[in-house]
Symmetry: C2
Subunit: 341 residues, 2 copies
């Protein structure tokens, strides 16, 4: 029996405001033996996603926080290196939720086999995985874009935003992306084929967004919050839909101390007078649509209608820094850590 | 030909903050002759509703404001006293949108005949009219209460709120009302049969509401805003639905100057982490459900499951004062003006 060294990144302390490297701790532990029904995995890719900021806090949310001292949670793609489950054999590539570590023992029943012939296996964490499905389910079920309508999405070069805009276009809507900086904006417009893109760092951002949406906004897929939301709100048309998927711009803030004026009464007034729909969601809720997504998305990728970009960081030890950068918008495309070859 | 004196209340000026008697002007004008296809109406009842505060302002909304100098808008029940429309004859009772005046000429095609044998004709402006239908459509289409869930509604003794709670109970949900003062609270609990009621004027209002909702809140039918909303928000369960029907507590406020902290980021966080649905609406949108409402509601009234209370003020000249009081919660039940016998 081979003994593997398991490299792990654990939560050392809860951040106040933006996470710092001190909030994480690298540890090395022995890897145990899989029991009956379990497999031993070597992790290939770890997904880094904004929701993880929520897990680092102990505020009440839809999911339990990571305990202090526990391995950070996260979606992973791994290779089976030892199997005691009859559905898996050595060499199989599987999707698991093994967290920030190099090896893991997992119950076979919690795993999904990945077919490497469809697309690179890393896409199971991106465009063909949770972020892509989040875009698909939130946009189509809550946003319900109609042909000719205007769909706006921020973080448009990111894992979720890039899929939102492209799926909106597949459905005949006009996609307007918001991204930070010239490179990302060029990518969104030229590579992803959005109808328009606006740089949220530009001093005239709100005016530029209004210009890019001459017929107003029918769907705003909310994944950032903050200043972008402020610019979007006045442009919303009557009966506009706002799937609320994330609020990355405020994850590091102390919301109870947000300076006035209190914008909630104005927002409620607009919700009333424009008959708006604001709907928070997480993709679990729409899990019955996942088979349909799995049927449709690979064809869109093949046809070049659903493009994606990955931002791959090498080495598990670099995960904390990459994650801290993600919350500042430093990544360019779906952020992944290549844990091993 | 008889010549009638038409007494009218016109908008004299736009209010800043709460309306005052000075914002209205009483005038007397001659009544014209109906042309072909029109009828001459003597108004019996004028409905006074919170939405009228919006029409007095020129802020952008779903409906055009009343012009300065124009007759105030409003729903009315009238008697046909001269008809040049073959579907109406003298003595018919009709629903019209004739506004704050004693007589009106109306196109026959815009009128709905009222059958006085079903219920008192005034109910066409209340429990069987726009307010009752607003409750029905907003609660059932957006709120979607399930048996055993908790539905909370404020202004629970009012035209909309009273129907919301009772229809929630008809659907098997638990109805918790919020009302102002002991008399209204007793009425909501004892006459309307709500499961619980909380007085929003009580110093321990937020705690009392929490106690009245031991399983949290699944549907909050929003028709007031302000302090009530603050107390409700922390009690909302995951997947709660909030039909936004009105915000009477903030209609007189300068929202742009609402003092901080800014509660919008916290509200958005809760919308996200609890997968809430917040949906503004006006009843027009659901007009295709009106026939179904007309079929169901009279039976509920007959069976004592849908009770109502009217607050009738005598004399058109008292409409401004009554309306000003409505915005302060002074009315007790559906507010109507008896314009003539």
């Amino acid at each position: 029996m081979t003994q593997f060294q398991n490299h792990q990144i654990r939560l050392a302390s809860r951040p106040t405001g933006a996470p710092t490297p001190d909030n994480f701790r690298i540890e090395t532990a022995a890897v145990g033996e899989p029991e009956s029904g379990e497999v031993l995995l070597q992790i290939l890719y770890l997904s880094l996603d904004p929701y993880m900021r929520g897990r680092m806090s102990d505020a009440k949310s839809y999911a339990k926080p990571v305990e202090i001292g526990a391995v950070m949670e996260g979606g992973t793609v791994g290779r089976v290196i030892q199997s005691k489950h009859d559905k898996f054999k050595e060499g199989d590539i599987v999707l698991s939720h093994s967290g920030w570590q190099s090896h893991a023992i997992a119950k076979g029943d919690t795993l999904r086999k990945i077919d490497p012939s469809i697309a690179p296996v890393s896409t199971a964490l991106g465009v063909l995985g949770m972020p892509g499905f989040t875009a698909y389910a939130g946009l189509l079920t809550i946003g319900k874009p109609k042909a000719g309508e205007t769909v706006v999405v921020a973080a448009a070069s990111g894992a979720v935003g890039s899929a939102v805009g492209q799926i909106a276009r597949i459905k005949g809507a006009r996609a307007v992306g918001i991204a930070g900086g010239a490179d990302k904006c060029a990518f969104v417009k030229d590579e992803l084929g959005f109808d328009a893109v606006v740089d949220h760092r530009a001093p005239d951002f709100a005016e530029a967004l209004a210009k890019a949406c001459p017929d107003g906004i029918d769907v705003y897929f909310e994944n950032v919050g903050g200043e972008v939301f402020k610019a979007v709100f006045p442009l919303l048309n009557s009966f506009a839909r706002i799937p609320v998927c994330g609020l990355i711009a405020q994850y590091n803030q102390k919301l109870e101390e947000a300076p006035g004026p209190d914008r909630l009464p104005m927002a409620m007034r607009d919700i009333l007078t424009k008959s708006l729909t604001v709907r928070g969601f997480i993709q679990h809720e729409f899990v019955d649509q996942f088979p349909q997504f799995q049927k449709e998305a690979p064809g869109w990728i093949k046809d070049g209608k659903l493009r994606y970009r990955e931002d791959v960081v090498d080495g598990l030890e670099n995960a904390p820094e990459a994650f801290i950068g993600l919350l500042r918008g430093k990544n360019f495309g779906k952020l992944l850590v290549r844990v091993s070859e």
